[in-house]
Each structure stands twice: as structure tokens, then as C-alpha cells.
Symmetry: C4
Subunit: 203 residues, 4 copies
């Protein structure tokens, strides 16, 4: 039994549009985790200042999640950019990836509210871990199915280099889980190492 | 009286952009059905764990709806891909389709909260049933109006094959309604058969 | 003093992307006007059925608003399609138009909750009236500034025909206001005449 | 150590799609700052009228923020339009810019609810100040890295002219902060000077 190929019907640009849409929305609704205090809670300017200042940790969580989603988006672009066509397995892996992107506003909000509990931290890191693992699996899948890759993008040294990058991105949330055992509250700062990737991985 | 044709003004790519936008948003705001517990409800880590664990069924509903919307999106792409132009009837059928996509976050949320009640399950399946029926009607409409189809996409065996696929997709929510009479809570698992479509429909 | 022309920097396709995004989001978040009842309100299936059934009017308002936004989107496409370039006046008129699109989820929600009050109905119709008036002004602006129009789209009989269509769309919410004086609750049904436009306006 | 260039993988059009998505969502969810009164608060039409009328200042804040975001979007388009390729620094500056766009629905909502407190006003102006400063830095970065600019867009007089525009946009929120010391409530009206930019900056 031959599975029909969706390659001709599912054009890459539609997949890109859906993907960019989901990422844009997930990044933007992160802000909904910051609640404006109701007028019954706040009766003077000093109370307002106090209320907003107490949201510092929620703001940090939101800030970090924004950039984590941003880095995942960049890695998604890289995987789509080399595509020649898609097949059902690749397509559904992509959907699974998008699904876990949509969960980030929830785990971020939980983290912002309950960052002192290891559970909230670990849940957040697990979310990212799953996302990054799917990304690695997708990359490996493309390496194993070179007919899906554009001819001018099949450069083995490049593919191998980026596999290292994907492995690096899987390690970061694992590191986060390890750190959260010792100091839950600040464990999401580990994602800052993403900006220093070039010091860890060389071509 | 001749209806003016919108074919020249309504470019397919705009319709695609609106469609992808609506799908991306509907898929992403599903997450809003998961509520972060307020600090007054949760005072210890074990209470947090318990609260999150109790959301298991809501999470499952959200997960399944995400993939149901995903499969509907793929079927939408297929119908748009073969388009040469659009006319008002086709356009409004498409809008009707999008309308019912936007209702899914509501029926999903209801399902997640009240999954033990047959009513919530049936409402969800009805929502999908309407969506899939509109999709089938749209496909049949295209088959009856071949001037709307791109010349290289008019392949009758292909059109007939996919009509079977559309009929299959109408049957799944009907199956869901039948199952929900016996066991409401798990009736939305029927949508998993979508992933095994190839075993049911051959070219 | 010559105003610099933004024509070369503001590409039409970006304006289209922003426009389609705003419309897609406004259409999709209409669903947030339907609230899932909290578990403390509903303790049996019959209560759930009753609760959902009582949302009938909210659902109708949401349904009608969806299609009103849809029809406004189609009219937006028509105006953008003929564009050769944009200038600041045209661009800000477009932004003003988008602003009032974003208000529709609010006026719709108000209508769904307070449809028995003439005030809620009139506010909704006023919202649409402003939108349709801006659309008409934009069309007239294009007719007066033919350098903004693509050469192959400058067909005066066509431009005049669609001006009639735009005037027709301004009349519908005025009709809605008139009807709401007599029977507030059902005044938003007047928008159904949009589907029968061809019987009123001939080329 | 040479940083790998993302120029070939991160296509500009994907960056545009994400950007337009984030702006469209931020502009549209501003409306969520207007709350529909619950039925327990409102029992007669006159109470509804009163409730809605009391939202006048919230509506004004929402209206002004919409156009401020709109003007930032236009300035974003201008920066992207001249791009030949992107590099990681430029890309992350862009992400930082998008991050602060997503915060505007929060600061707007705060402003709408607590406009009489200088703190809420200053926070809003600070938000815009940061955004406009990042925009200026990005523009200067492009001027310093002309390889990122399309050849036909490298026109020094044009680049210098728009730097003045970017500086102008940094001054406006500073003005807002100054005004808010004297009269907090109306300080966001300073953004109206954006529409009169041409009177301040000449080529």
C-alpha cells in the first residue's frame, strides 16, 4: 500500500503562513499573563506602583518565554527553508511542534505565578524539552529523507553542523530542569545561553 | 440577471491569508481553555500539582481539537490548491467554513469542562460534522463547476478519490456522536482514526 | 512643502498582510463573547443544556457579526486590489478602517448581552456605519486620485458601479438604526440584505 | 571565530510575516481592555448607557495606542523594506522590538484604567520610548552595516533624512513624560504630533 504524497497539494508557503501565524499569536498572547489590577484592589498611586512592581517575576518569565519562542521560530525557519516538499510524516511532526508552541503561554503563565515551586519550573522546561526534541527528530528525519530537501541545500557538513545546534537546544531545557532542583526561581535564566551558542558549537 | 463575478477582484492569495490567519488563531487560543489556578486556590506545591493533574482531560480535549483543526486545515488547503478562481457562492461557503472553525475553541472548552455530559460531547461532534459537511459540499461544488478549477488539477480520478476522503471525514464525527451515547467521556478519541485514513480509503 | 510619498516604502503586500491579520483575529476572537459556564453554575446535564440554550441570541449576534466583518473584508480586498501605490492619506484612512474593525468584538459582545436595549443595538449599527462610511470615503478618494489606481483597473463604469455598492453598504446600518427603534432585538438581521445586494444594484 | 551568517536561511519575507502577525494581534487585542459590563452590574438601559459612557477615557487610550502601534508598524516596514539580508544582531534587535510591541496592550490597559496616576502614564510613555529607541538603534545599525541594505536603497541623504524621523519619534514619548508631570490624564495626546511630522522635519 502506497501512501499518497501530499507533496503536490500542501504547498510549503501555506505551511509557513500557518506556522508564522501560530508563533506570532503565541508570542503576543504571552502578555495576557500580566493582569491589570482591578480598581477594587488599587486605590492610590503608591498601591498601583507596588502592584506593578510585584509583577517583576511574571514580567521576566514573559520576557524569557518570548525569546525562547523566538529562538524556536528561527530554528523552524531553518528547517522549512531547506524543504523541497513535505510528506505526511513531516507535516504531522510540524503540527506536533506547533501544538507545543501553543502550550507555552500556559506554562509561562504558570511559571510567572508559581515560580517558587519546582513543579512549575520543571513543567516549563519539559515543555521546551519536548519542543526541541521534536525539532531534532524533524531535522534527523530530513537528513534521512533527502528527497524532501532542496538540491542546493543538501550540504552534509551543513546538515551535520545544524544537528549539533539542535542537540545543543535539547540540552538547554535539561540544564534548566537540573538547575530548578537547586534554585527553582531562577532556573529559566539558563535560556540565556542560547545567545552564546557560538561559543559552544563550532563548524 | 447575471451575478457579477468576483473572480477578478478576490485573489486566491488573500483568501488563503485570511484562512491561514483564522486557523492559526483558532488553534492557538485553544490554550485559553486551560486556566492558571489563582493564588487563592493554591497555597502549596502539592496543591499546585493536584490542580494541574486535574486538568488532564481538558488537556486531552485541547490536544485532540488542535489536531482536528489541523486536519481540517489540510483539507482546506487541498480545496484551495486546485482553485483557478472563486465565485461568490464558493467564497461564502468558505466563510461559513471559517465561521465554524472559530467556534471550535468554545465547543472544545465546553467539552474539557463538561466531558462527562453527553450534551457537551454531542455539541462538539456536531460542530465538526457541520464543518466537514460544508467541506464536502464545497468539494462537490467545485466538481460541478470545473471552470473554478485549475486546468492541470482537473483529474477526475483524483477528484473522485478525494470526495471519498471528504465523505470519510463526515463519517468520523457521526461515529463520535454514536460513541458518545455509550461512553461520553472518551468519544473524542474517535478522531484518531483520521491518522489511519489510508487503511480505509484506497485510490 | 511637498509631502514625501510613502509609495515606494510602504509596499501594498505588507498592508494586505496587516489587514488580513487584523480581520482574521477580529473574526476569531468574536467567539470569546460566548462564555463557558463555570462549574459552580452548572451541576447537571439539564442545567448545562439550559445554560447553552440561553446563549442563542449571543450566538446569533456572533454569527451575524462574523459575516458582516466578512463582507467588509471583501470590500477591503476590492479597494486594495486596484491599488497601484499608496500615499499617507490613503494609508491612515486604511488604519482608521482597521481600528473600527477591532472594535466589533466589543460592540458584538455588548449586543449579545444587552440586545433588548436599543442603546446596544444602535451602538453596533453606528460601529458598522462608521466603517462603511470610511470605506466609501476611501473609494471616492481613489476615484479622485487616479494615480493611486493600477492602469488596468481604471474603468470608470466599474468604479461608479462599486461606488453604488459602497453607498448601499452605508445604507444598511442606517436601516438597522431605524429598525432598532421599533424592535431592538432583531435589528441586526437587516445585514442579511447584504446577501441580496444583486437585486438592488445593477450595473 | 567567525559567526555564521543567518542571511541565507532567515528569509526576509518570513521575518515580515512574523512581524505583521505580531503587530496585527497587538492592535486587535487592544480591544480586550474594554470590558463588557456583567449583567449583575447593569439592570436598565440607562445604567448601560452610563457604564459605556464611563469608558470614554479607556476608549481614547485604546484609540491612541492603536495609531501609535500603527505608526511604529510603518516605521518597521521602512526598515525592512531597505533590507538586503539580515544578520543575528539585526534579527535579535527586531525580536526585541517585537517584544515591546506585545507589551503595549498591557500598558494601554493600565493607562485606560489608571490614567489619573502619573505612574501609569509614565509607564506607557517609557514603553513607547524603548520601542522608538530600539528603532533608532536599528536604523543606525543598518547605516553602519551597508552590506545589509539593498543596493538601490543606499541613498545617504535618504538614510540621514529618516534618521531625523527616528530621532523625532524618540522625542515624542519624552515629551509625553514631561507633560504627564503636569497633567497626567491627557499626556497621551502628545502622540497626535506624529501626524504633523512634516511640519517639523524637512528633507
Amino acid at each position: 500500500m502506497k501512501r499518497e504524497s501530499p507533496g503536490s497539494e500542501i504547498r510549503i508557503n501555506r505551511l509557513e503562513a500557518l506556522t508564522d501565524g501560530v508563533f506570532a499569536i503565541a508570542m503576543t498572547i504571552l502578555v495576557l499573563s500580566l493582569e491589570v489590577p482591578s480598581r477594587s484592589q488599587v486605590t492610590s498611586q503608591s498601591e498601583l506602583v507596588q502592584n506593578i512592581m510585584s509583577k517583576g517575576y511574571q514580567f521576566l518569565s514573559y520576557f524569557i518565554s518570548f525569546f525562547v519562542i523566538g529562538s524556536i521560530w528561527i530554528s523552524t525557519i531553518r528547517r522549512t527553508h531547506i524543504l523541497n516538499k513535505t510528506d505526511y510524516k513531516h507535516l504531522w511532526l510540524n503540527m506536533l511542534n506547533l501544538f507545543f508552541v501553543t502550550t507555552i503561554p500556559f506554562t509561562t503563565s504558570l511559571l510567572g505565578d508559581y515560580g517558587e515551586y519546582e513543579f512549575a519550573e520543571v513543567l516549563f522546561h519539559l515543555d521546551i524539552l519536548i519542543l526541541e526534541t521534536i525539532a531534532l527528530v524533524q531535522w534527523q528525519y530530513l537528513m534521512n529523507n533527502k528527497d524532501l530537501i532542496r538540491e542546493d541545500a543538501i550540504d552534509d557538513s551543513n546538515l551535520i553542523y545544524y544537528r549539533k545546534v539542535y542537540i545543543f537546544h535539547v540540552i538547554v531545557p535539561l540544564l534548566g530542569i537540573a538547575v530548578s532542583v537547586f534554585t527553582p526561581v531562577w532556573s529559566n535564566l539558563v535560556y540565556l545561553v542560547i545567545f552564546f551558542r557560538v561559543f559552544f558549537i563550532r563548524r
